[in-house]
């Protein structure tokens, strides 16, 4: 591992350097702004390449932390400049750097006025998001987290429709209000730990020593901040309006880049800090996520404003992230992370596609369009391809995340309303009734999603051409298509070769899960005391069928030279089966 260079620092701060440089470029040099913006976003991506190449997939812990990246920052309060990257954050960081370049490209067509502000805001935002995604120190994370807000509000509020400022204000206020309890929780934990350290490990030790009730409250405070970013209803209310009002580039930034920090916050901080609370809250969060999925999808059906439709669809799509994470198994967490990538790529692409039309014809209403495929065949091809990627057609990126999350949900014990069913191993642990119901309901998105996505395709692309202004419509230009191409390629790459991505997550995900299982003392106790109270179906799962019977396990056991009858949990790190195996 080439740890000699402070790659993470370079990734995080190269956009900021560009933002500073932009301050010296006169405001009328639009081309120069684009060049600087694109170059520094690209620089960040280039610095990511050695990290991706040198990443050690077998290691669960943080990597690429050089001495300079674990140094005292504010010694008197114990805050450190501590960056690190692991399997959980690797691709989030990588994708963000790619999306930064895409956003810079999107600005070329979408942002016609005040381009310097756009690129400066974008680059600052990138630094904030990347910084948040690399932070291990909670204060540093909080700093980057809050730093995201203003550039975001600026990007959303500066270009777009008349109500954009109101929308940006709502975004700012709702997210800031919801992040304040998290700030309070961070301070509280810091104080509880003796006011000496903000480092994740120390804070975790403090957190897990607190009474369970307090842990739960703090966990909720963290979740509030992250859920509003994702967003989970009823915290989503800022999203549709912001998307509808802002420019194409603003929508892209909002819809593709920013929420990743929410995902990251959950896996890096909220979950590992409060294992007991995670198990405690999992059923409720599962139900909430499913509500998000179904609710968002259903609302999207009748939206006439295409950006609002994609926004509500995003609410639905993003529910899969929390659903997967709180399934608390390897498939789920991996699926949630992949879903996070998938949503960035596909929803971002849809916003760009919608933007192409909106920027040309200045209408967000689907009723104003029709039959464009005849005039814009390449555009139609891109559109259908990305719609299908978004709808979760197998072989494309959208399928992987959704499928993994649904599989994990159906097989999860974490959602069980009977705490006795809590299970501290990895998948599969057999079906739980609640989980099955949740998976079925979440799966409704597959159907409802098809209804509105195909409806959208039909209204925009298919049918006969409406209106004389489309009769001379020309196909997408290179400038319009360029930002889409990386997204198309990513859709295919992740869809066809998800293993390339997931294999680098595996070790860290396992580490996260074993940590959760290890430290969830109360949940385990409850599970043990209640293990007797199970339905017939559940007990069949637990007792009637031993994990050794699983073909895969036997194959692995055989590969390890073990007898097939060896304890099944050997293949499941951290497993703690309660039921007796024959």
């Amino acid at each position: 591992m080439s740890a000699s260079m402070p790659w993470l620092t370079l990734i995080v701060f190269s956009p900021l350097a560009g933002a500073l440089l932009l301050a010296f470029v006169p405001s009328e040099h639009k081309e120069a702004h684009r060049m600087v913006g694109g170059f520094f976003a690209l620089l960040s991506l280039l610095f990511f390449l050695p990290v991706a190449a040198g990443f050690d997939a077998s290691q669960a812990g943080l990597q690429f932390t050089t001495a300079a990246e674990n140094a005292a920052w504010i010694p008197s309060i114990g805050a450190r400049y501590h960056l690190g990257i692991d399997g959980l954050s690797l691709w989030l960081v990588g994708l963000t750097t790619v999306l930064g370049v895409v956003a810079a490209m999107a600005g070329v067509t979408s942002i016609q006025t005040a381009s310097r502000t756009y690129y400066a805001g974008l680059l600052t935002l990138l630094t904030a998001v990347l910084g948040a995604l690399c932070s291990v120190d909670l204060l540093l994370f909080a700093l980057f987290w809050e730093l995201m807000l203003l550039p975001l509000a600026l990007l959303v509020g500066s270009w777009g429709d008349r109500q954009r400022v109101a929308a940006a204000t709502k975004l700012f206020v709702v997210t800031l209000v919801c992040s304040m309890p998290m700030m309070a929780a961070i301070f509280y934990l810091w104080v509880k730990g003796g006011s000496t350290s903000f480092d994740l490990a120390d804070i975790a030790a403090t957190a897990q020593g607190l009474p369970v009730g307090v842990q739960q409250a703090l966990f909720l405070a963290f979740c509030l901040a992250f859920f509003v970013k994702l967003p989970i209803p009823p915290l989503h209310t800022w999203l549709p309006e912001a998307h509808a009002q802002t420019s194409t580039a603003g929508s892209f930034v909002l819809g593709a880049i920013v929420f990743q920090a929410g995902t990251y916050g959950l896996v890096r901080f909220a979950m590992p800090l409060f294992p007991d609370a995670v198990y405690w809250a999992a059923p409720a969060i599962g139900i909430l996520s499913v509500i998000a999925i179904v609710y968002g999808a259903i609302i999207a059906v009748t939206q006439r404003d295409m950006k609002k439709m994609i926004a509500f669809s995003s609410v639905s799509h993003l529910g899969f992230i929390t659903l997967g994470l709180f399934a608390i198994n390897q498939v789920g967490v991996t699926g949630a992370l992949v879903q996070s990538l998938a949503h960035s790529v596909t929803a971002g692409a849809l916003f760009l596609l919608a933007g192409v039309l909106i920027d040309r014809y200045e209408s967000r209403s689907v009723d104003d369009y029709g039959g464009l495929a005849a005039k814009m065949p390449v555009f139609a091809l891109l559109f259908v391809f990305l719609i299908m990627a978004y709808a979760g057609v197998p072989g494309l990126i959208g399928f992987v995340g959704e499928f993994l999350v649904l599989a994990a949900t159906a097989g999860s014990w974490a959602f069980s309303l009977n705490p006795g069913n809590a299970h501290f191993g990895s998948l599969p642990t057999g079906p739980d009734t609640t989980a099955l119901i949740l998976a079925s309901l979440a799966g409704l998105r597959v159907v409802v999603g098809a209804i509105y996505l195909l409806g959208l395709t039909k209204r925009l692309m298919l049918g006969s051409i409406t209106g004389s202004r489309f009769s001379k419509a020309t196909d997408v230009t290179w400038a319009e298509a360029a930002p889409l191409l990386p997204l198309v390629l990513l859709s295919l790459w992740v869809g066809l070769q998800p293993g390339f991505f997931t294999s680098r997550m595996d070790a860290s995900v396992k580490g996260l899960l074993s940590g959760l299982a290890e430290h969830a003392t109360l949940a385990k106790e409850t599970a043990e005391t209640m293990a007797g109270q199970q339905s017939d179906v559940e007990s069949w799962n637990r007792d009637g069928r031993s994990p050794e019977a699983w073909p895969l396990q036997r194959k692995q056991a055989a590969a390890n030279g073990e007898a097939p009858a060896a304890e099944g949990s050997a293949a499941q790190p951290g497993a703690a089966h309660q039921g007796g195996h024959p």
Binding site: P234, V393, L406, V446, S464, W550
Partner: protein, 664 residues
């Protein structure tokens, strides 16, 4: 397991894909013959490869256990997350061989036919790209060695079906039909996915071979204890199959899917894609035999679909819709076969049906082509003389589907009928069989009735053509009639591949796929009670039903006249009910259309806008602004008020101190 790694499978799958990519990328710049060649050659090569693979597989045969012989090819990792492992791995066993041959064989003929049929279409290259893509997706469905890859193909064919139904996308109705097909399929896909998840939860694998192995290790006690879960999972899989194979309750998309080009209807909506459900159930027959409840449900649903679709088909006036309902009905027969633990019969009927239904569709395409796009049979009639090849081959198709003795349909349908009685123990005794059998006979009767109604109305009697249709009336070119004749011959002779056992003659087909369906065979054998008298009875009854259907059709429509109309008038309500397809479409439109939209509006306007946005978020904002203004109003600029408030503050401070004090 006697599996042999081979390099044949990847090209088999990838060649059509390459053709699709090539035609999709540059096809529109190429001359049409070249596009057609790019479309045809890969399919032809794939067919040859499939044939080679099948022969190779045949050479490996011998062992009786399931999966005894299979060719495999692993193309690398796809999904690998913890226990969830699914590779790009292909698996070619007997059932796969049958499917692959049908897909590529019938597929090739339909491609060939399309060259003529689509000749004047501006989207010629695009059409062949889609068609090749379909073949690729369908092949990946049948070649998949795990359920996730199968699901890829499953969704893939749905996607291409969407593209092809909406091929003429400028017509909004066709687009609606395409969307309807995709959405209905997605409902099934969801169930299928859930079934797979449940299986994965139970067995810890999605690999078909490993699943079979897992099943073989289950003890009877475990099967009893897990009955609910196993039944649930097979039921979910079955619901998935009803989506793709257009059975109750998800059949509604198929008639509308006729909006696509006719060869597409022949390939996708008759011969191949819609049989995917049957294929899946046969593939997983080792699971279905564990759950008799599901089997019974499959049988009942299949038969109900067969009858219902038959009655609807009787009333339709669109030539393709009649065939569509016929397809649904025939698929119902196949489901019935699966349900009565006769997967071999189901597969056999699948193959023969692929021939004669493709033939019928292509024939109808030929008619439509000849009549410049006319599809309403009321404006046809008397075409037998004008379209000799088409009418002859169409007649052969009708005979085959009606089960005329010694045609392909005769053998395959009778095997199903016979299996109902023969396997009655599997269905829990004679009670269910004795209900199913007469109804199945009725379905067979209906089949003959509506098919020959179609034949007589279209080809016999006097011409009722529009002037426009008359002006261009011509027999189709050889590139179209050629495939018709090939399929006609197959429809006549294919039956002999599956001669019934009880005749003592070799049932080649059954023998070929026996290893795959061994678990079901074993179950059937374990409860089998031989009764040869009943067998001949079954065959006879089936034949009589078919012939009487033909006869009635001749009586009613063979010579024209008012009889059908009078009959309809005497049963006005029943007629209206059937004519309107039992109002099922309206029901769906309500639940997935209107009700969903209403719900959506309510969520949007009431919950989202009013409750969350206006009341909760807006309310919080209003509250803070309002209280801010209220407090701000104190600040009226009057110094004396400031002083007063300061003194009040001071008084409060002193009160606080006085109240608390420090004294104990």
């Amino acid at each position: 397991m006697n599996t042999v790694a081979t390099g044949l499978l990847a090209p088999l799958l990838l060649l059509p894909l390459a053709g699709a990519a090539l035609n999709g990328a540059v096809g529109r710049f190429l001359p049409k013959p070249l596009s057609a060649a790019i479309g045809l050659v890969p399919i032809a090569v794939s067919f040859v490869l499939a044939l080679v693979a099948a022969l190779q597989l045949h050479g490996l045969g011998g062992a009786e256990a399931y999966g005894a012989a299979a060719l495999t090819q692993d193309l690398g990792e796809w999904l690998n997350v913890g226990p969830l492992v699914a590779n790009w791995a292909l698996h070619f066993d007997a059932v796969t061989a049958v499917m692959a041959l049908v897909i590529t064989g019938v597929g090739f003929l339909i491609h060939l036919y399309s060259v003529g049929y689509m000749h004047d279409d501006e989207g010629f290259a695009k059409y062949f790209a889609y068609l090749n893509l379909f073949v690729a997706a369908m092949l990946s469905l049948v070649l998949a060695d795990n359920l996730i890859l199968l699901f890829l193909g499953w969704e893939g064919v749905g996607l291409v079906s969407w593209l092809l139904i909406g091929f003429w996308y400028k017509d909004a109705e066709k687009v609606d039909a395409a969307n309807k097909a995709f959405i209905a399929n997605r409902v099934g896909d969801l169930a299928l996915m859930l079934g797979v998840f449940l299986l994965f939860g139970l067995a810890g694998t999605v690999h078909v071979g490993e699943l079979r192995e897992w099943v073989s290790h289950l003890s009877p006690a475990q099967i009893t204890a897990g009955g609910t879960l196993l039944t649930t999972s097979t039921m979910l899989l079955f619901i998935g199959c009803t989506g793709k194979s257009a059975q109750i309750p998800l059949y509604v998309w198929l008639p509308d899917a006729m909006a696509g080009p006719t060869p597409v209807s022949a390939l996708i909506h008759a011969a191949t894609m819609v049989t995917a459900g049957i294929y899946l159930m046969v593939r997983l027959n080792f699971l279905f035999v564990l759950t008799p409840v599901t089997l019974a449900v499959v049988a009942v649903i299949g038969l109900a679909t067969a009858i219902m679709a038959g009655t609807i088909g009787l009333m339709q006036n669109d030539i393709k819709k009649v065939l569509a309902y016929s397809t649904i009905s025939q698929l119902g027969f196949m489901f019935l076969a699966v349900g009565v633990a006769a997967p071999a019969a189901a597969m056999f009927h699948l193959v023969t049906h692929a021939f004669f239904k493709a033939l019928l569709f292509l024939g109808s395409g030929s008619v439509i082509h000849a009549l410049s796009g006319e599809q309403d049979i009321r404006r046809m009639g008397g075409l037998g003389k004008v379209l000799p090849s088409t009418s002859k081959t169409f007649l052969i198709g009708c005979l085959a589907i009606a089960g005329f003795p010694l045609t392909a349909g005769f053998f395959s349908k009778d095997e199903i009928l016979w299996s109902i009685m023969n396997n009655q123990q599997v269905l829990g005794g004679p009670a269910l069989s004795s209900v199913l059998f007469p109804l199945a006979l009725f379905a067979a009767f209906l089949t003959a009735l509506y098919m020959f109604r179609l034949y007589f109305v279209v080809f016999a009697g006097e011409q009722r053509l529009t002037d426009e249709a008359k002006s261009h009336l011509h027999e189709s070119p050889a590139v179209m009639t050629g495939p018709l004749w090939v399929l006609a011959i197959l429809s006549l002779v294919a039956g002999f591949a599956g001669l019934p056992h009880f005749t003592g003659l070799p049932n080649l087909f059954h023998h070929f796929i026996a290893p795959v369906i061994a678990p079901t065979e074993a179950l059937v054998r374990s409860v089998y009670s031989h009764d040869s008298g009943a067998i001949w009875g079954c065959v006879g009854a089936g034949t009589v039903a078919g012939l009487s259907g033909m006869g009635l059709a001749f009586v009613l429509w063979g010579r024209g006249g008012e009889r059908p109309a009078r009959l309809a008038a005497s049963w006005p309500r029943l007629h209206a009910l059937v004519l309107n397809k039992y109002y099922i479409d309206e029901l769906y439109e309500f639940t997935f259309g209107k009700a969903l939209r209403i719900k959506s509006r309510v969520y949007d306007l009431f919950v989202d806008n009013l409750v969350i946005d206006t009341v909760a978020v807006g309310g919080a904002g209003w509250l803070s602004t309002f209280s801010g203004q209220l407090i701000g109003r104190l600040q009226n600029g009057n110094l004396q008020r400031y002083l007063t408030i300061a003194f009040i503050g001071l008084a409060i401070v002193l009160f606080l101190i006085a109240r608390g004090g420090v004294t104990p």
